[in-house]
């Protein structure tokens, strides 16, 4: 058993990405590969999973208590970072990234490390598109907004269909589970679900693979340790897209 430290880091920069999303840059780089995450200790509040959006940053959407506590922090404040955790993406060949909302966070690291050839980025509205300039620099970027305020008026799935999924060796996906489910459906249709690498979100208590709160049906795979990234063929016949468990372990349908 080797120590998995929660390393104290100083927040060196806070970037307002959208009204509800901020990037917290910290004083230390972690050897995170694209898709790796960390457990973020917000002292006095909670410890929650967050993807590395850079080796020294997380990008957080405010949704509840712990993320609100994070938003209340300022430059110079400290948090604890336990990671990198999880398996990460394993792209090979021609690679497409498909991101919805804050799901762009882990895929940003994929793009900035030069692995993503093409990038499909979606959000509800133009304001909420994450990292558009940065992604456009290192990938061939296409955007979609639900309300049409930027790029394609509609869903990332429309752009994916148009891009011909079979032309990619790897398709890395992160976003709301309904969106990911729709992406998987397209890949199945195209006959290549195993090319899809989906970064899942499940309720995580330990983040290190011991407690079992993040396990998915019917394989019992742990999202925190065996995942968070699973290929489409692994999750096609699973709870994916239909339900997840809450903090108590009760099933909640999407």
């Amino acid at each position: 058993m080797r120590e998995i430290p929660s390393v104290p880091v100083v927040i060196t920069e806070i970037i307002e990405e959208s009204p509800s999303i901020r990037t917290f840059v910290f004083s230390r780089r972690f050897p995170a590969e694209p898709g790796h995450f960390c457990m973020v200790w917000v002292p006095g509040t909670d410890e929650i999973p967050m993807a590395f959006s850079a080796q020294n940053a997380i990008t957080v959407q405010k949704v509840g208590e712990a993320t609100e506590a994070l938003f209340a922090l300022s430059r110079g404040d400290e948090i604890g970072i336990k990671g990198p955790l999880g398996n990460g993406f394993t792209p090979s060949g021609r690679t497409l990234a498909v991101a919805g909302g804050v799901g762009a966070a882990p895929l940003r690291l994929l793009a900035t490390s030069g692995v993503a050839d093409d990038f499909i980025l979606g959000a509800r509205t133009a304001d909420e598109l994450l990292f558009p300039e940065e992604l456009a620099k290192c990938t061939n970027l296409q955007c979609a907004t639900d309300d049409g305020t930027y790029g394609h008026h509609g869903f990332v799935t429309d752009l994916l269909r148009a891009a011909d999924p079979t032309s990619y060796d790897t398709i890395c996906v992160c976003g709301p589970e309904v969106m990911m489910k729709a992406v998987l459906a397209i890949l199945i249709e195209a006959g290549c679900p195993e090319n899809g690498q989906f970064s899942l979100h499940r309720y995580m208590k330990c983040g290190v693979g011991i407690c079992g709160s993040c396990c998915i049906d019917p394989t019992g795979l742990r999202v925190c340790r065996d995942g968070p990234v699973f290929t489409g063929d692994i999750i096609v016949e699973s709870e994916f897209g239909s339900y997840a468990r809450d903090a108590s372990g009760r099933r909640k349908s999407f």
Binding site: M1, E3, P8, V208, I210, C211, G212, S248, G249
Partner: protein, 296 residues
């Protein structure tokens, strides 16, 4: 190394595939996860502890991992009665339901949910970090006796899991025995705390936590030894087991089988790895001859 003859065994009224079970609270929240650990070679599996009401558990951090030890304060998160559904398809498997409550009545109520669905109950009278539950009840011999008796009404074999955080663990073991327990599980985690000197606050969200893993193995062996000297019913050793030799050591102290929790963090294949070196068809010894042999 001492090796054992392989084969199914029966301990505390439950038929097990081998001597190494999955401990409560470790990858035991869902039926799929329990089934996975059985496929991975566990001789039996104990569920996450289930209580009378759903609980979300403590705020994080819930787990801290150190060299040779981990510390947790999950706070007994559980879906309560909803958990029953997780066991569909596992009724024939060596699954033991861990249950908890604050009173004998609550133990009795939760116990009844599991009749016909699991092979035995394990009473969590020993979680060191949940107010009003676990060790709060399990340090009191009378309560232990009553809770055991209440759970026995379910008709299932009842195992009682003890806390090492008491002055005399044999007193509690004997109380379980009086209450009609079919086996004793020793032990749950050791009450502990670490503080982040950087943040000047406890490392776990709950403050107090329970220590597990290799660091507590000598404490668990001691508890098993003491219980073996005092009690008649079988003892299941738990705490820090992480190798086949550790299994043998627990058995020599008096354990009829063991449970393994924290070591699963190394690899979910740990049961396969341990049992592969634990058993030898040729040259293995008869397990019954090993149990308690160090007391000779």
């Amino acid at each position: 190394m001492v090796t054992l003859i392989p084969g199914e065994i029966t301990v505390g009224g439950v038929r097990l595939h081998n001597h190494c079970m999955l401990a409560a609270g470790v990858l035991g929240t869902t039926g799929a996860s329990l089934a996975r650990m059985l496929r991975a070679g566990a001789g039996g599996v104990v569920t996450k502890s289930i209580g009378p009401e759903p609980k979300e558990g403590h705020k994080g951090p819930c787990v801290a991992v150190y060299d040779g030890a981990m510390m947790n304060a999950m706070g007994l998160p559980n879906p309560s009665h909803d958990f029953i559904g997780e066991l569909d398809g596992l009724t024939e498997s060596p699954v033991i339901a861990s249950i908890f409550g604050g009173t004998p009545e609550e133990f009795g109520e939760v116990a009844d949910w599991f009749a016909g669905r699991v092979q035995a109950l394990e009473l969590n009278l020993s979680c060191p970090h949940a107010e009003g539950y676990g060790a709060a009840v399990g340090a009191d011999p009378d309560m232990v006796e009553q809770c055991t008796r209440a759970a026995k009404h379910s008709g299932l074999p009842v195992w009682v899991k003890l806390t090492p955080n008491v002055t005399d663990i044999t007193e509690i073991g004997l109380a379980a025995e009086r209450g009609g327990a079919d086996a004793i599980v020793a032990v749950n985690t050791v009450k502990a705390m670490r503080i982040s000197t950087n943040f000047r606050r406890p490392v776990l969200g709950n403050g107090m936590g329970g220590l597990s893993g290799p660091a507590i193995f000598p404490v668990a062996v001691r508890c098993v030894w003491e219980l073996y000297e005092a009690c008649e019913i079988p003892i299941i050793g738990c705490g820090g087991v992480s190798s086949a030799d550790n299994v043998v050591e627990m058995m020599m102290a008096g354990a009829s089988a063991v449970e393994i929790g924290s070591a699963v963090i190394e690899d979910t294949e740990i049961f396969r790895q341990i049992t592969e070196s634990l058993y030898r068809r040729d040259g293995g010894e008869c397990p019954e001859d090993i149990v308690g042999c160090a007391h000779a």
